[in-house]
């Protein structure tokens, strides 16, 4: 008898993917629907009123642009960290992963400045639905960034022990975490113009 679960590190012969990859994509599919619900709310609220402020007139576009650059860069370093594992270069993986986490933290710091600035000017979710949707969506996105930092930090520090015992599975984990991280980037790519530019 074997209690062993198959296709954790090697792909299933028919579906062609590992369990974790399929699982992460399913999770991302549900995330698409989550943000879909929020975007739907945004569209309905915005088209329902006449006096919706233009994002670039009330929000800080340079800071948000900086954050866009930070997040896109972190996406690249994330994919590079995975590629390093594929090339069996563990130290490079650590370097890229560290940069990814630092960039994620930088993103949050910038976001923190942005929020603090809004609070100083007494702009809260209760001020108007523009600010409400701004705070809720960026806040939820921020939570996703924090989640990504936790996962990536786990893979960088305690989780990386697995590289010695089961490099295939570890690479799979990093790829899965990467998929999530790129999704967080992808959401921001839509948030940025939707909230800040239009």
């Amino acid at each position: 008898m074997s209690a062993e679960i198959h296709y954790i590190s090697e792909p299933h012969p028919v579906s062609g993917v590992t369990n974790s990859k399929l699982g992460v994509w399913l999770f991302l599919a549900s995330e698409v629907m989550l943000f879909g619900g929020l975007f739907s709310a945004y569209i309905l609220l915005r088209t329902g009123v006449t006096d919706w402020p233009r994002g670039h007139e009330v929000l800080n576009v340079p800071l948000a642009t900086l954050n866009t650059v930070i997040l896109i860069t972190s996406s690249v370093t994330m994919v590079m960290s995975w590629a390093s594992l594929e090339l069996k270069k563990f130290s490079k993986f650590r370097l890229y992963m560290t940069i990814t986490i630092l960039l994620a933290i930088a993103f949050l710091v910038v976001k923190g400045f942005e929020y603090a600035h809004k609070f100083d000017h007494h702009h809260f979710p209760s001020t108007s639905n523009f600010y409400a949707i701004y705070f809720v969506i960026t806040g939820l996105h921020g939570l996703h960034v924090i989640g990504g930092i936790i996962v990536n930090a786990y893979l960088l520090l305690p989780g990386s022990k697995m590289w010695k015992t089961n490099p295939e599975q570890f690479t799979g984990r990093v790829e899965a975490a990467g998929l999530y991280w790129h999704f967080v980037d992808l959401v921001w790519i839509f948030l940025f113009p939707a909230l800040y530019l239009l």
Binding site: M1, S2, A3, E4, I5, H6, Y7, H12, S15, N19, L22, G23, L26, F27, A29, S30, E31, V32, M33, L34, F35, G36, G37, L38, S40, A41, L44, L45, G48, V49, F124, P125, S126, T127, S128, N129, Y131, A132, I133, F135, V136, L140
Partner: protein, 587 residues
């Protein structure tokens, strides 16, 4: 007997495997899908009975408005009942929490969490779920969500009281229990999210050798489709929940239009929100949720029927395609709950058409199951009786959906007792009967003992009678135009003639409660005293019966290989009238 070859192995197996854990450890940290399935089953059954208890209280107020509740009326605090007389705010709490608990904490966790978890990996020949730790997390998130819901009864102002639908602005200005409800829902949504990811991955990846998609038992198909519904329909409710939390806690006005006057004072919120937005996001989940409630039930019924008719299901592929189509369509019918919200004609026309289309696969499934009886040799076991009763009960539930799906008839029937009767026929004598069938059917697999037939039959007949006693009169009340969610229907002249029906319903409901006593006795009694049975007492073909009872950690003694479809009963030229999927020769 099919399994005599390894039943003796099972005896030695348990002691030899070293998975004996202390009770508390087993039920807190277990990642084994069977333990988690049992945890789900017990927890959700408790919630089902609790949810039933809530409505039993409401039934007193409805039958005898304004009269003090006898015997137990004094046990409640002054915020619920004064001198045993129920307050309207407590009535509303009971109503909202009855719906929430029955759906999100009772029926779905039982049909998906319990049966899905326990049976699905066994039926596909998998050693466990694809992600056992996520599975454990899923249960504990559900558990926390349930505790939060229960705890909300004790916060100032009581539990949520804006209906299980929680329509704003009412829910936004409601007392603190609503916040607990929302946070509880966030836990439940995440729980079902993890569960559905797990189920889909398990079905796609972990089917054993030879188990092609069209050899899957229909139960697995039903769970598979259900998981997609949970995966993709729940997140918009999560979004809506976050928005409502923001409205309640941060003072935003997503659902609050401008110029509200609440309690005589102009509302302080910024306004500009849209109250109908919530309804769209809510029903985007809540309509697929109906199929989350019904599909696993159909799966259970199919398993029980195939086994007890001793013949293959008629039109297995039709069942599979219909359930996929049903699942798909369920995403694009939701706005038929909103015909009267000032919706435009194009929208309502579109949703009427999709609603009519979705009735067709349901008709196909029902017809297919009925025709499965043709040429059968029907064993009237207790699970079979519950499964058979499911068919006409679901039939009534489905048919009564028809007038509600046509917006012209909905003008009169919307938000009346007709709606209550309709969906309860689907969920109570429908789904819950199927769940009972499942409990009686798989009980021997979990415990190695059968439940008592005589007690089971008492449970069945009385439940059947009283279920109809409860829900049939509601259809009449609905036609008479009686609104739902009324604390005191006798306020209205048009409701007075049907008040005797309310008394009748209440008495039926309490009797229905009493009819569950034989079940409870049977359930617990049979765990210890039930008739011991072998690994395959029903002589069934699917894989869960080809493993020792109870299945060991890892489920199968050796990886099973599947040679044929799920329902090879009474195959001509075979010695036995059942031919298990994993058995090469039938001798």
């Amino acid at each position: 007997m099919t399994n005599h070859d390894h039943s003796h192995v099972a005896q030695t197996h348990d002691s030899g495997h070293g998975h004996k854990m202390p009770f508390w450890k087993k039920y807190i940290f277990s990642v084994d899908h069977k333990t988690i399935g049992v945890q789900y089953a017990v927890t959700s059954l408790i919630f089902l009975f609790f949810g039933f208890g809530l409505v039993s209280l409401m039934r007193w107020q409805l039958a005898y408005p304004g009269q003090p509740l006898p015997l137990i009326g004094g046990w409640f605090s002054d915020t619920a009942m004064i001198g045993g007389i129920m307050l309207p705010e407590f009535y509303n709490q009971l109503g909202a929490m009855h719906g929430t608990i029955m759906i999100f904490l009772g029926v779905v966790p039982l049909s998906v969490g319990a049966f899905g978890n326990y049976v699905l990996p066994l039926q596909i020949g998998a050693p466990d779920m694809a992600f056992p730790k996520l599975n454990m997390m899923s249960y504990w998130l559900y558990f926390i969500g349930g505790i939060l819901m229960l705890a909300s009864f004790f916060v100032p102002g009581g539990a949520a009281q804006s209906g299980w639908t929680s329509y704003p602005p009412l829910s936004v200005i409601a007392s603190g229990g609503q916040t607990w409800w929302l946070i509880g829902m966030v836990f439940l949504i995440n729980s079902s999210l993890l569960g559905s990811v797990n189920f889909i991955t398990t079905v796609v990846q972990l089917r054993t050798k030879g188990m092609s998609f069209f050899r899957l038992p229909f139960f697995v198909w039903a769970q598979f489709v259900t998981s997609f519904l949970l995966l993709l329909a729940f997140p918009p409710l999560m979004a809506a929940g976050v928005l409502q939390l923001s409205d309640r806690l941060l003072g935003s006005s997503f659902f609050m239009p401008s110029g509200l006057v609440v309690n005589g004072a102009v509302s302080a919120v910024a306004g500009g929100g849209n109250a109908v937005l919530w309804q769209h996001l809510f029903w985007f989940l809540a309509h697929p949720e109906v199929y989350v409630l019904i599909l696993p039930a159909m799966g259970i019924v199919s398993e029980v029927m195939a086994c007890n008719t001793r013949k293959p299901l008629y039109g297995y592929k039709a069942l599979v395609y219909s359930s996929i189509f049903l699942g798909f369509m369920s995403f694009i019918v939701w706005a038929h709950h909103m015909y009267l919200t000032g919706m435009g004609t194009t929208m309502s026309t579109f949703f009427q058409i999709t609603t009519m289309i979705i009735s067709i696969p349901s008709v196909v499934i029902l017809t297919t199951l009925i025709l499965s009886l043709w040429g059968a040799s029907i064993r009237f076991t207790v699970p079979m009786m519950f499964a058979l009763a499911f068919l006409p009960m679901f039939g009534i539930g489905g048919l009564t959906g028809l007038p509600l799906g046509l917006n012209a008839a909905d003008i009169h029937l919307h938000d009346t007792y007709y709606v209550i009767g309709h969906f309860h026929y689907v969920v109570a004598p429908g789904t819950i009967f199927a769940l009972f069938a499942g409990i009686y059917h798989w009980f021997p697999k979990v415990t190695g003992r059968k439940m008592n037939e005589a007690l089971g039959k008492i449970h069945f007949y009385f439940s059947l009678i009283f279920m109809n006693g409860v829900f049939l009169p509601m259809l009449i009340m609905g036609l008479a135009g009686v609104s739902r969610r009324l604390y005191d229907p006798t306020q209205y002249a048009h409701a007075l003639p049907t008040q005797p029906l309310n008394v009748f319903i209440s008495i039926s409901a309490w009797c229905l409660g009493l009819a569950q006593i034989p079940f409870i006795i049977n359930f617990f009694g049979s765990i210890f005293k039930g008739k011991k049975v072998d690994d395959n007492p029903w002589q069934a073909t699917t894989l869960e019966w080809s493993t020792p009872t109870p299945p060991p950690h890892g489920n199968f003694l050796k990886e099973p290989v599947v040679y044929r479809g799920p329902y090879e009963y009474s195959t001509p030229g075979q010695k036995h009238d059942f031919w298990p999927q994993s058995m090469k020769e039938n001798n």
